[in-house]
Symmetry: D2
Subunit: 293 residues, 4 copies
């Protein structure tokens, strides 16, 4: 899953809340990506923030559950490589390689994308997970991802793309020997059926045991359990994203007495009835029964 980054009211990383949150994840047996651009507010994190975040994540998670650096879409290969080195130096087990966001809604050429990935992979000294994500606004050929994934440095691919033919190409080229995960719960069951290993979720910040149970039920052949858990994940996702995303996720955690912290500017805490609505979803789904609140 993709961990939130708890901040205090002044926008500093809230170390006690961060440690508390990560311990809850570790206790649930769920692997975590930290510093992600969406759920981890990674675009606001300075180099120093990332170093501190990685250090704490390694401290709390390593040896218990997988711990990886996610980061943000870089503008240059140099930025991406610097991030990978930071993750390596902190002892992270792996790091994700986002594709280029060259900015201002421009898109890189194919040759530029090739050169970018080649430079990053050549320079990396940490196991890599390649990302192909529709948020960059352009389509990376799935064949390129498959080819790049043959590098021994690459241990997996995170694929977030609406086209299932795209996903099929990735799975067929990669999933026999390396992990393929889809982003978000929308395609989770579909991806499992197609041979992927799992899905990345932000819902795991609130309901890590629930998110894990989808996969566990799948592995032990419990259809009814898988469908029930997945229904809850999807509805929780809709309830959180429809009411502020990680802003309201943090508010719900705090409301429940769990470590959530504040969002960091430019994101502002939810102030209206969005918390009430999100809590109603959480209660109606009886998430606390799974999570042990």
């Amino acid at each position: 899953m993709i961990s939130i980054t708890p901040f205090d009211a002044d926008g500093a990383i809230d170390e006690p809340a961060l440690r508390g949150h990560l311990r809850r994840l570790a206790a649930s047996g769920i692997g975590a990506y930290v510093g992600g651009g969406g759920s981890g507010e990674g675009y606001t994190l300075s180099r120093e923030d990332n170093a501190k975040l990685f250090r704490i994540a390694v401290d709390e998670l390593k040896g218990k559950v997988p711990v990886r650096a996610m980061g943000v879409e870089p503008r240059t290969a140099a930025q991406m490589i610097d991030f990978l080195n930071l993750a390596k130096d902190a002892g992270m087990e792996a790091a994700q390689v986002y594709s280029l966001d060259v900015g201002h809604a421009h898109t890189p050429t194919n040759a530029e994308l090739d050169a970018y990935f080649a430079e990053v992979i050549a320079a990396a000294d940490i196991p890599l997970v390649l990302s192909t994500h529709q948020s960059v606004g352009y389509r990376i050929a799935p064949e390129l991802i498959v080819e790049l994934a043959q590098s021994p440095k690459v241990i997996g691919v995170n694929c977030t793309h609406p086209d299932l033919g795209y996903l099929a190409t990735i799975i067929d080229g990669v999933a026999a020997t390396k992990d393929v995960h889809v982003g978000g719960p929308m395609q989770a069951l579909t991806a499992l059926a197609m041979g992927a290993q799992g899905y990345l979720s932000s819902e795991g910040n609130l309901a890590p045991k629930l998110c894990v149970s989808v996969i566990e039920c799948y592995k032990r052949g419990d259809l009814r359990g898988m469908m029930t858990a997945f229904d809850q994940v999807v509805r929780l996702s809709a309830g959180l994203y429809g009411n502020g995303g990680i802003r309201v996720t943090k508010a719900v955690l705090n409301h429940l007495g769990l470590p959530g912290g504040y969002p960091r500017k430019p994101r502002l805490p939810v102030v209206d009835d969005r918390l009430t609505r999100a809590l109603a979803v959480v209660e109606s789904l009886e998430i606390g029964r799974t999570e042990g609140w």
Copy 2:
């Protein structure tokens, strides 16, 4: 599923092929929508074509599997009502009500949409299935669909929308007493988990037993069977849509000695290696083993 409409080389409805195709569907136990705008080439069908198509469909399917009229997005309520009356007169069991496509990429106002649905539902004399589909280019409030679905004339909703929160609203408001189906296989498992009754597929033209088996496995708790069948449906879908959609579906059927017929102009038969590629997908998935070729 959404049936193709077999045509002969001159563009007339190919009655023997149509009957043969529908019999294959009936033998597979799969319900069929006929005359749909996408898979059924419904935009090319005249009033006379539809009357003939409905008559044959009732003849071949009624009493064996559900038989419904799908139609196309209308420009006016009068067009929609005329279509519904045609379906009723032919003895169809139900008909879908598409939302308005006012043309030229314009969108109706909310008041116009309300008035449209109200007029159509009031005039209808056949059980109705409401459609909300992203292809019209605007978003119908799911609350409107739920409200309209309370009419005793409405027996179900077909929902094709990428937002799972949207789907959740439809399911929660409708699925307890009436059927909710999603369009295409993309969200099929997700929708089942959320409480929908099924999915609409074009893949059922080629592999009706396979499409049915996803639901059957689900109902009898066969996780492995469901996932395996669903993987095949998704990959078949990607293989057909990536190579010409119903154009290549018809060509594959013909190649296999099954009744497929020709597409009708403006659609042209596939002429290049798309048939070869689609056949390779069909063979690699061993669809014939399920279907009994």
Copy 3:
């Protein structure tokens, strides 16, 4: 310009209002397309409606200003050809050929588009204006339009596309010998600078003299006059489109005592303060001074 079609309160073509409106256009010296899908509510017009509309338009406009049939995006070549024949039989001077809208957000293949245009042009017995418009949801290669425009049956091209490189290709290939017009006022001055002959506007229904004066000022080298008139056209366009488009255009005409008629279902008359806002724009721009109200 693209004429509205005045209807009475019951949705029938309002012949007196239509004749009155067309006479006003003729008196302003502006050429008119009738039956267009956007401004002319062409998607609601039956074959009989079109025949009547064409007959009246020929009666009122022919010999005074150019009179052409616009129509709607067809589903098949046969529909387009039937429309062209109807226009010819009524005595229209020319008719527009829209590109295919195959429906349900599907797009035709290049081969299908080629075959469609070839069939339509071959069958046509009336001077043709080819349309390439972004509203169909796919891009027609401008080189194809240029090639098709070489037919002696083709007298012009209407181009509505945001990419000015696209427009340049059309102009360079066509405008030396045939007319190129852009859709809407957005690109009007740009197109004139690039060598196009003019622009199509819906604003001409309310302010025909104003729309003509942009071109007249341009031709006689009156920069200040052209810019002033164009500013008014653009602001009038924003004021009308932001408040209901042709719905409010008709209401403004009626309010001013000019023949406008009602929109036809599914479009509904404006009922809120949109008329007030649109009238405020019309008054602030002092449109009446140009038009002679």
Copy 4:
């Protein structure tokens, strides 16, 4: 206009080329924005790069033509403020304030956008030009921009938005006392007609005199001259953007013996026939006659 940033083959700022380029701009009498995210490759510029760039720009341009800092869409207010301070310390005359790009295709809430702009404007100690640009992927209410522009610190607005009603609101609220410019040549004449002061162009890197002459002709009432010059600007724009944008702009400059330098990674120099095609456009338009090559 928005200046390119010449780099050497190793990606360092090429100071001689930069100075040469800026001198050419100054000699043409065109004001320049430097460090922009699109044409200035601003996303690749470090804090040190920007400091150097600003210092040189002030050195070459100040007192001759307007010299302003453009920058890139920031992730946080702190980043934007730091950029403004850097520009002020270097002696830039003004700086643009981009709206937030919060990353990963997420959009800020209205409250977050308000808070962002309020914080930035309060902290700024340099004249500001507000930007509203569609490239951020969300719509900023034009009324907010008008309201913010009332601050005495704000001297203008750069507006890049396809909706002319949007632009009208900005012009009516701002242009009486402060400058409004549109982004790119597409809306240049339209904006002039509506009361804006000018347009921002990347074409000015190659043809600064030509870009200036559009405005000069407009001011002196030379319609023919304005339209001819504008036609060239638009066709030059299409010829450059269709062949690699600033990558090919730099290559064309170098080919002509003018200082252009290299693009910086991740952008790569054009290597195929795009240079040939762009040169053909430049030659056919006889740009050299205006520019004095």
